[in-house]
């Protein structure tokens, strides 16, 4: 357990404790409204990271999975005439629908070079958006309404909040488990040098596809919760190009490929965007600001806040160590670059 892991872990546990009591303390509906949407994005950003952050294949089409989950719940809720609480049971099914869609999409898209992959995901996104606008089963371009529960107004948001919280927490735990597992190792090896990894026996396509399906499952569930919460499924909002950009930005901002990074990104950026949309009656302010923020992150913090922060932290520690060393004597630091730091032993036994 490195110090960084402990720090990250304690931070997350603290957040969990705060999150569990949040709606009971901040009863203002706007606050809980923000919170529900933010938690949805925490889940999606983390899910996106499980696939794109670890494998290095940047998906700009995750809205497809989000939208599939959303529309599945909408159509099913309308057709099956379920009661308010029961509609929540559709959420995992919605995730499953998105996961199923991910299989053919992945089989086509994961066979190409990385940047072609990004472009293909964009194309898939537009196919999905156009299909939703044209098909009658999805209500065409005017969309469909989702049956709303008639719970008490003051605590209306709370059930949504807790469902979203459970999904978000589960996703974070899943991301952590993936990162520690052999599966995660293979993904990250694919990210660094896919051909070399394949040459060493890593089965690239099944690994990538599995990550995509997992990511799609969670994103689909998130989409279902969100659409239930907002009450309507309209193609241009469900399949919104800004959605994809937002989750990419969140993951990048916090730290691509880390577990806590996307969480931090979502917790910072989503409330910011919601607040901006509230304060400014136009939508373009947030667009311009997000674009500018994105550029800042890409140009100056390409590894994200958390890794860069950790780097500065260790540099500061090294500086302190050097100051503490007596003058004339260099502080003993592990120098990974020194060739003479090689201490061989005899050949390992059992050369079969």
């Amino acid at each position: 357990m490195t110090k960084q892991t402990v720090a990250q872990g304690s931070g997350l546990l603290l957040l969990l404790a705060v999150a569990a009591v949040f709606p009971l303390v901040f009863t203002n509906p706007t606050a809980t409204n923000f919170a529900v949407v933010t938690l949805v994005f925490v889940a999606v950003a983390s899910a996106w990271n499980i696939f794109s952050g670890f494998s290095g294949y940047l998906s700009l089409g995750h809205a497809v999975f989000y939208g599939t989950g959303a529309y599945f719940l909408t159509v099913a809720a309308n057709d099956w005439k379920l009661s308010a609480g029961a509609i929540f049971w559709l959420v995992p099914l919605a995730g499953l629908a998105a996961a199923v869609i991910a299989v053919p999409l992945g089989l086509v898209a994961l066979r190409v070079r990385r940047h072609t992959f990004v472009v293909i995901t964009i194309a898939f996104f537009f196919i999905a958006q156009l299909s939703a606008s044209n098909l009658s089963v999805t209500g065409g371009s005017s969309g469909m309404l989702v049956p709303q529960p008639n719970w008490a107004g003051a605590t209306f948001n709370n059930p949504f909040y807790y469902v979203a919280l459970v999904i978000a927490v589960a996703t974070i735990v899943l991301a952590w488990l993936v990162r520690r597992s052999r599966f995660g190792l293979q993904l990250r090896a694919i990210r660094d040098d896919e051909d070399r990894a394949a040459g060493l026996g890593v089965r690239a396509m099944p690994v990538k596809l599995a990550a995509l399906v997992l990511s799609a499952f969670i994103t689909g569930m998130a989409g279902a919760v969100w659409v239930y919460f907002t009450g309507e499924a309209v193609p241009q909002f469900v399949f919104d190009p800004l959605f994809d950009l937002a989750i990419v930005l969140m993951a990048f901002f916090g730290g691509l490929g880390t577990v806590a990074g996307p969480v931090l990104g979502a917790l910072v950026l989503q409330p910011a965007q919601l607040w901006l949309n509230l304060e400014e009656t136009n939508s373009y302010s947030s667009e311009i600001l997000f674009g500018a923020l994105f550029l800042v992150v890409i140009l100056f913090l390409p590894r994200g806040v958390l890794p860069t922060g950790a780097e500065y932290l260790s540099k500061a520690q090294a500086w302190i160590r050097r100051r503490r060393a007596a003058p004339g004597e260099t502080a003993r630091e592990p120098a990974a670059g020194a060739d003479d730091a090689i201490t061989p032993t005899s050949a390992p036994g059992g050369a079969a």
Binding site: H115, A123, F126, D195, I298, L299
Partner: protein, 292 residues
């Protein structure tokens, strides 16, 4: 029915010319610099708005206005490269530059919303709504003009690439950046100028696009998805392929429009997906399927 189909094909081929030009700009930049400029769509819209401002506020004819908008877009392109893309390096460079272009696109879209609002506007000139009568049907003047401009621009592009020193430097950089540097080519300058050229063509594309359809800042998304689809169907880096793919797109769309206007573009996207399933590098793509 026969004339309808023939008309659709004619429109498709002519209309494809302009898309081909914009897609050529995109694929050129990718071929030389390994950059996917996803801002190309919104830049076309920007070009259209520039033509709009010149036409409506300064009463400059659209075609004449190109003499201003083309250099203007060129400068903007060079600026974007120099400010935001030049410094990006490393293993993730292609993805990072793509995201940077996405961010720039977002900013431009926001600014356009701020300046022009979300009302639909379109470009007008005496030739925009007229057509010529050929072979028993009408061909819109603007399509012919657009096609002519596209052909002229592509010819100019080829002349630059194959008959000038600069063009030689561009092709050298496309083939081997390190070697190009070693023989004294200022790769950064070549890159910036190439990017500028790739963007400059959007001025022409914008003018024609804005004359054919009305547009808002939101039109950028539809445009970029079409351009990207054209480019990957053709195979990234292939200019000739982009021409063919663009014409294919507009022709298919025009044909399907006869029966099912709602789905016309989806058919094209699906065709692209089908091609990619069997040929991941695109129809004319040169690169191997997997390279880092």
């Amino acid at each position: 029915m026969g004339t309808e189909i023939a008309h659709a094909i004619a429109d498709g081929i002519l209309g494809g010319g302009v898309y081909a030009l914009m897609a050529a700009g995109l694929t050129l930049v990718f071929g030389v610099l390994d950059i996917i400029n996803v801002a190309q769509g919104i830049l076309v819209v920007l070009g259209a708005y520039l033509s709009y401002v010149l036409s409506v506020h300064l009463h400059i004819d659209l075609l004449v206005g190109l003499l201003i908008t083309v250099p203007a877009m060129f400068v903007i392109g060079v600026g974007i490269y120099w400010l935001f893309i030049r410094t990006l390096r490393g293993a993730e460079r292609t993805s990072m530059t793509l995201l940077a272009c996405f961010a720039v696109a977002l900013i431009i879209e926001g600014v356009l919303y701020r300046e022009f609002g979300s009302n639909y506007v379109s470009l007008n000139a005496w030739y925009v709504n007229q057509s010529v009568h050929i072979f028993g049907f009408y061909l819109a003047d603007i399509y012919l003009i657009g096609f002519g401009l596209a052909v002229a621009a592509v010819v100019v592009l080829y002349l630059i690439l194959y008959r000038t020193t600069f063009g030689r430097a561009v092709r050298a950089t496309m083939q081997n950046q390190t070697a190009a540097r070693l023989i004294g080519i200022d790769v950064n300058r070549v890159a910036a100028l190439t990017f500028g050229i790739g963007v400059a063509v959007t001025a022409i594309g914008g003018m024609v696009y804005g004359s054919i359809t009305s547009f808002t800042p939101n039109s950028g998304y539809d445009l970029i998805s079409r351009l990207l689809a054209i480019v990957i169907l053709a195979g990234m880096g292939s200019i000739g392929g982009a021409l063919a793919a663009a014409v294919f797109m507009t022709t298919i769309e025009a044909l399907v429009d006869i029966w099912q206007p709602d789905w016309s573009i989806v058919v094209f996207y699906l065709a692209m997906v089908i091609v990619l399933t069997f040929r991941p590098q695109g129809l004319f793509g040169r690169h191997a399927v997997r390279a880092q």
